[in-house]
Amino acid sequence: MKSIEGATTTYFAYVGGNVVYTRSGSTITDYVYAAGLLILRKSGTAVRYSHADHLGNVRLVTYYTNQVKTEFKARYKPFGEIVVLTDNSAVKFKYAGEWLDGTGLYYLRARYYDPAVGRFVSQDPVLGALSVPQTHNRYAYVVNNPLKYTDPSGEFIFLFFLAAVLIGATLNTGIYAATCGETCSAAGYVGAFLGGAAAGAIGYLTAGVGLGAAMLGGAAANMAAYGIEGALAGSFSTEGLLLARALGAGFGALGARFARGASRAASAGDDLADDILRTRTRLQGIVDDVNGDLGSGRLRLTAAQRRAGPQAAHYGQRLHAEVAERVSHDPFLRSRLTYNIKGVDFRYNMAKNVRFEVTTPGQISSHTNRFITQGISGYVWFITYTR
């Protein structure tokens, strides 16, 4: 596979969904993975190490020459908009560990994804299920739940559908093999497989209409498959047709149940992820307020801090306290957030390496503000999400 950007042609070799080799001109790069995540990139003798979060977003790329150095550093918004802190054009794998094209789109095999709008640029090749309304937006990325899911194939919801189809097909074929006796035939196997698959698919896709519709559709599909198979193999019987009807109805019901289960799981994940997003947004608002107070000189220092002088350490302590206080007073956040004193990282309270060009107190404050502003924006987006 190759891509052409301007005068540069890049050739790719894949193993499964992972790029393991690229050649661009005379530059050959090998990629090494562990547990599905890219861990290093090697071009000639140069080795670069990738560090990803739980969703595979590449946040840091490092290398070693006498000491550990940073080649690339970035943060990501939930739908993949990137905030690059240290850039390097050689780093291509970014959001969800995917290849970022020169077009600004991510290549996700079946489709391209645009992080700026959080949507695919083309429709999902698979129709959505009635029971999972989010899937009817065929441009949506991971049913709008990027904190929980990634979509390495560009066909995320297809996996649920595929499972329902395969269950029906496999079971129907198995039952056919166990019951056909002397009448077994290739056409019979094909018919059983297709009938079961169709029953599962119809059950899955019509689950939103109702269980009856799913069973009826499944029965009709399997009976039709049995009828075709019987006509081809000359082994049609009323008992066989009735069995096909019963099995088809069962697979239809199974498909519907599978779709509802998937829907419930996705909804539960959606609710939690949505709540986390709302919480984060609210927390960000508070941090912005506190930061605004600091910037405009409205942040009160304690008397001891005023006497101790204008050091970043004291602003850091006050910012902690202010954010914690406002979270405690906020009816939305207070029921969700707990200030974890054990988790406090005191780097900001010991910022001895920060140099100020001290001439007047006013200037001292402005330098302090900038430093702390960067500290906040750098960390507020860091979320560890556990299931």
Binding site: T302, A303, R306, R307, S335
Partner: protein
């Protein structure tokens, strides 16, 4: 008491069930015996890191709403991180309670007793709310470090030998209250910011607040606070009438006659203090030894600290 029943038991009692129906006994003092009650702990589902601090996302923390508890002994109970919304607590004892991070939000209290309680990062009040009223309540030997206050009204309450280090009383209002023991790096405000301007304009009257048996170390009184009816210790404190004008005079004096690092430090202190002391604040009270004993005196020497004290004394007399 089994931990699994703690929350449900408290809810049943608070919603009107009789203690007898719940199989609860009474202490020798006649209080409903809920000593040692334990509330289940919810599991954090995510973490947010802000400026190096961590906030756990705990969607299932224990929440109590509109409970009415009267004559209950919750001594030794574990109520950490629990949230109490619009509850009323009357004659409730919280001795040796483990209540780090407890949030009493809009819950009113009357004749409640906290003794030797862990109340670090505990909270009273909420945004956009006038209140709640906390009356006739005492805090004895409690750890209140990092406790937070929106706009509760404390009336006839006592803080005795509590650890109040670095406490910002925020929008808390005090009437006929008493503080005994050390108050270290504590902030009191006359009014306090709030998203609702009507709430932000609520005044802390500080009527008859008694600090006479307290040691006020690095305590600040800002934002138009009225200390005229407060009682301070007889000695060791500098009273600064019309503090805005006094600080402005001190700033001019330092700016004109000081130089170098001492000038920067002194100006920073004076300007940061003056910034939150408006014209209408009638009085500020400062403990001069804070300059000598604290980092100011340590870094710049006792002579410089005493020089700044003299400037403040002169400015307060002019």
């Amino acid at each position: 008491m089994a931990s699994i029943d703690g929350k449900e038991l408290l809810e049943c009692l608070g919603e009107g069930e009789t203690p007898e129906a719940l199989g609860l006994r009474r202490t020798p003092e006649g209080l409903v015996d809920l000593r040692g009650l334990r509330l289940g702990k919810a599991r954090p589902r995510a973490k947010f890191r802000v400026l190096g601090a961590t906030f756990d996302y705990v969607p299932g923390k224990p929440i109590f709403e509109k409970l009415s508890l009267s004559h209950v002994d919750l001594s030794g109970a574990q109520i950490e991180q629990s949230l109490w919304v619009a509850c009323t607590l009357h004659h409730v004892r919280f001795e040796h309670v483990r209540g780090a991070g407890v949030n009493f939000a809009s819950s009113g209290m009357e004749s409640v007793s906290f003794a030797r309680a862990d109340l670090r990062r505990a909270n009273w009040g909420e945004d956009r709310l006038d209140g709640p009223l906390v009356a006739d309540t005492e805090f004895i030997d409690c750890d209140l470090r990092g406790s937070m206050y929106a706009h509760p009204l404390f009336r006839n309450c006592r803080w005795v030998n509590c650890n109040l280090e670095d406490v910002n009383f925020g929008g808390a209002r005090f009437e006929d209250c008493t503080f005994v023991g050390l108050l270290n790096d504590v902030m009191f405000h006359g009014r306090y910011r709030d998203p609702d301007p009507r709430i932000a304009d609520l005044r802390n009257s500080m009527r008859n607040v008694d600090f006479s048996r307290a040691l006020l170390k690095d305590v600040s009184f800002d934002d138009s606070i009225d200390l005229m009816t407060c009682i301070f210790p007889q000695d060791g404190y500098l009273r600064i009438p019309r503090p805005k004008a006094a600080y402005d005079r001190a700033i001019r004096r330092v700016r004109d006659t000081w130089f170098g690092k001492a000038k920067d430090r002194a100006l920073f202190y004076l300007e940061e203090t003056a910034k939150f002391v408006p014209e209408d604040q009638p009085l500020d009270v400062v403990r001069p030894m804070d300059f000598v004993e604290g980092s100011f005196g340590r870094d710049l020497g006792e002579d410089v600290a005493r020089k700044l004290i003299r400037i403040l004394e002169d400015a307060s007399r002019e």
